[in-house]
Symmetry: C2
Subunit: 471 residues, 2 copies
């Protein structure tokens, strides 16, 4: 909405300052809305999120998970059915005056009493999701999209199954869906951990959590998959009668994440020039900028190229504004458009296009008749691969293995993440927490093991955890 | 979600009973959510609304109206900036305990103070919309989707312009957009009126409102287009400095409607068998049902046909459940799928398909090689045309012109709508209101004039209004 001035971004070293400026300059969020922990989604930011929402809608539909919508008001009698849930949220909930309701902090207490009707009507398994705002009355410092009081674009999957095995399978399915989103859509290597059982909901079976590492070294929780076991079923009396006439509680899985996907994209792919969007979620994949000279503006050539892209199904945009080419380059760099095509005198005379990659900042010459092919290959292969590998390298620099507690602590305090052997015992978990403010071990790394001694108790183990400061 | 039993719908004569049963049987809404004036959108209902939302997103984007998202919390200082707005909503607002905010009843007070920043930054015109829930603490009887306390899928367009002329043009644009949605997407003849000036927001220029007539004769407000003039601009101090250095307030337009579109579809197209969906918003356009005989189930033929439809871009579904064909017919009739194709012994032997139209309830034989062509023509032409004309006939029966007040009153009390000459004066408007509870004149009919005498004061006029009971 707002006119972008070709301002400089603060250095990415000052992450939060850089991040907040970028949200405004790239027209993602207007942070001036005066209710703490809320903000306005601007059209460009909205479009990016909508791309992502369309993708998850499609993935969920393909997996047979149906979209529904539950009201935002959760009746107090529902909220209190699970006293542990309520204990966890009661100080964080927003209460509506004169009404016996809270605004939904999470979906369980709204949905599960209605699940009861559906199960009684013979409907199992239940596999549904909704994309909606959630509300938390955060006392802590809020950060746009990282810690909001209105958490926007939150998707929550909730399922119910007849058997433990079915729920276990469901959980693995969702881990794979998240991995797919991280790798293929966002081009970010996923960090997935399994939470130790004292960190999950009482009575639940297990939980996976995905994390990303922000440039300031902070670990950001970025999606969770919870195998709830029968913990909620017992609270909400969700049961069916099996073939032997026996009452059996259902087994449940839930997952959730939202705009934090975009936080990871901004923070990890973004650079000193602005956003760098993974092609799959870029609203504009190619921007065409002409370099006018001697009263020739080359707009005809630009329109011709745009039409070519349209026919090839590539979302492109011709910047016809009266800004200088330099200003335009700057704006589209800030907005992270994956590819820019430049058309000027040389291009027209010599019959080629200049193609600029936002990710590598390289310019290449492409013959006119090869343009769709080259662009498609860049969007589908080269750019995603480059982005992914860049984060891999960053993670290799940010995450180091330690077997000495003091070295590990020092490393974390310098804004990094430590990988250590860890037995998994609660005492050892607590000891890591005591290393400093906001420091936390985040759980067993899935898909990586290494023989060694627990950093704290020195017991032999092959399990690993990473720890660092969290948001 | 819930299993549909082949239950009978109550007679449509008892409209609200029929309507509420249909919401549940067609799996549109689960009305058992225990917060007054709220309900759960079931997967099938959600899919229908999503189709409609995708259509309006596309229309708005094509018209250059950008999608944004404002928080649900409206700060009290914003809410009170326009004291007339606040007066209108203060008893109907939901207040959040301990926070100086209300839940958004409408978008103006959330958006316009932020418009101020954008205008100061040189951004005019502003043309944005959002699709979101709105909240009204309705004291009156609530009716699902007709009068809710959480109004879901509400879209609101808000614009700001430099000149009165630009705002006027904008308003006409939106009237045409609404007309297009009514006619082409929902296949319902629009009833558009211009509100008399004492019925619009103080200081506003003018307002169009769209209405539908429910089968019980009630008039339902169904979308509005408001030319706000400078009324809000003055309250929210939205101005720019013109070329002469003069401070000039902006001119604004806003529009809004939501799930009431679906109410109109259900109420007007639906019949004694259930929903009848206009093809454009039907999530499944063709359902394929096989009629098994002697251990032959014809599923192969069904899949083959589904593939044909897929290649032709026609959303189809093969019902492979183990229900009887009769039960399946019943379910898909309730769900309003526009076309059913039946494949059984005769069809396979004789090389044709039986095609059933949900709208006319006719069955026709279609040669196999003509099937895509016939289906496409039914979906794009015949069915929309039939639906539209059916409502035209209904409206002709429901709306009668009167020049006698007693006759008109009697007609309205029998569950109809009266069309009358009306001078437009406030006294005459009030007199119509006094004819009985819920009776209201709704404004000047756009696009229809007739010479005659005002029903009340007998003054000569060519203006017409319709009046009846409203929701």
């Amino acid at each position: 909405m707002t006119e972008i001035k070709p301002e400089r971004l603060p250095s990415k070293e000052n992450f939060i300052e850089w991040y907040n400026s970028l949200l405004q300059l790239a027209e993602i969020a207007d942070r001036r809305y005066p209710v703490k922990g809320t903000f306005v989604w601007l059209p460009y930011g909205f479009k990016i999120m909508k791309k992502l929402v369309e993708i998850w809608d499609e993935i969920f539909e393909k997996n047979g998970i149906e979209q529904i919508y539950f009201p935002l008001f959760v009746p107090m009698e529902f909220a209190k059915m699970n006293e542990e849930w309520f204990e966890g949220f009661k100080t964080d909930a927003f209460y509506v005056e004169g009404e016996n309701v809270i605004l939904r902090p999470t979906g369980e207490p709204a949905m599960y009493p209605i699940f009861k009707y559906w199960i009684m009507e013979g409907k199992l398994p239940i596999r549904i999701y909704q994309t909606v705002s959630s509300f938390r009355n955060e006392g802590k410092t809020t950060h746009t999209m990282i810690r909001d009081r209105e958490i926007t674009f939150w998707h929550e999957i909730h399922t119910a199954h007849k058997t433990r095995e079915e729920a276990k399978e469901e959980m693995e399915k969702h881990r794979k869906i998240y991995e797919y989103i991280w790798k293929e859509i966002l081009n970010i290597p996923p960090i997935c951990v399994e939470k130790p059982n004292y960190e999950i909901f009482p009575g639940a079976d297990s939980a996976y959590e995905f994390y990303t590492i922000l440039p300031n070294g902070r670990l950001l929780e970025n999606g969770s998959v919870n195998n709830l076991g029968q913990a909620y079923a017992k609270k909400f009396d969700l049961f069916y009668i099996d073939e032997n006439g026996k009452k059996e509680y259902v087994w449940q899985v839930c997952t959730g994440n939202g705009a934090r996907f975009l936080v990871a994209v901004i923070a990890l792919h973004g650079d000193e020039r602005g956003l760098v969007l993974p092609p799959r979620i870029a609203p504009i994949k190619v921007v065409i900028v002409t370099i006018p000279k001697d009263n020739k503006n080359y707009l005809e050539e630009a329109e011709e190229l745009k039409e070519k892209f349209e026919n090839a199904g590539i979302d492109s945009f011709v910047d016809k504004s009266d800004k200088t080419p330099g200003e335009k380059f700057n704006i589209w760099d800030i907005k992270g458009v994956p590819i820019r095509v430049e058309i000027g005198e040389r291009e027209v005379k010599e019959g080629f296009y200049t193609v600029y990659r936002r990710d590598t900042k390289e310019r290449i010459r492409v013959q006119k008749d090869k343009i769709e092919e080259v662009i498609r290959s860049l969007l589908e292969n080269d750019i995603p691969k480059f982005l992914y590998e860049k984060i891999m390298i960053l993670y290799q620099q940010k995450i180091k293995f330690f077997d000495d507690i003091e070295d590990a602590k020092k490393w974390v305090e310098e804004g990094n993440v430590a990988k250590v052997n860890w037995c998994g015992k609660k005492e050892c978990f607590e000891s890591i927490k005591e290393l400093g403010p906001s420091i936390e071990a985040i759980g067993f790394i899935v898909d990586e093991k290494k023989e060694g001694k627990c950093l704290i108790c020195k017991e032999q183990t092959d399990k690993l955890t990473i720890f660092g400061k969290t948001y």
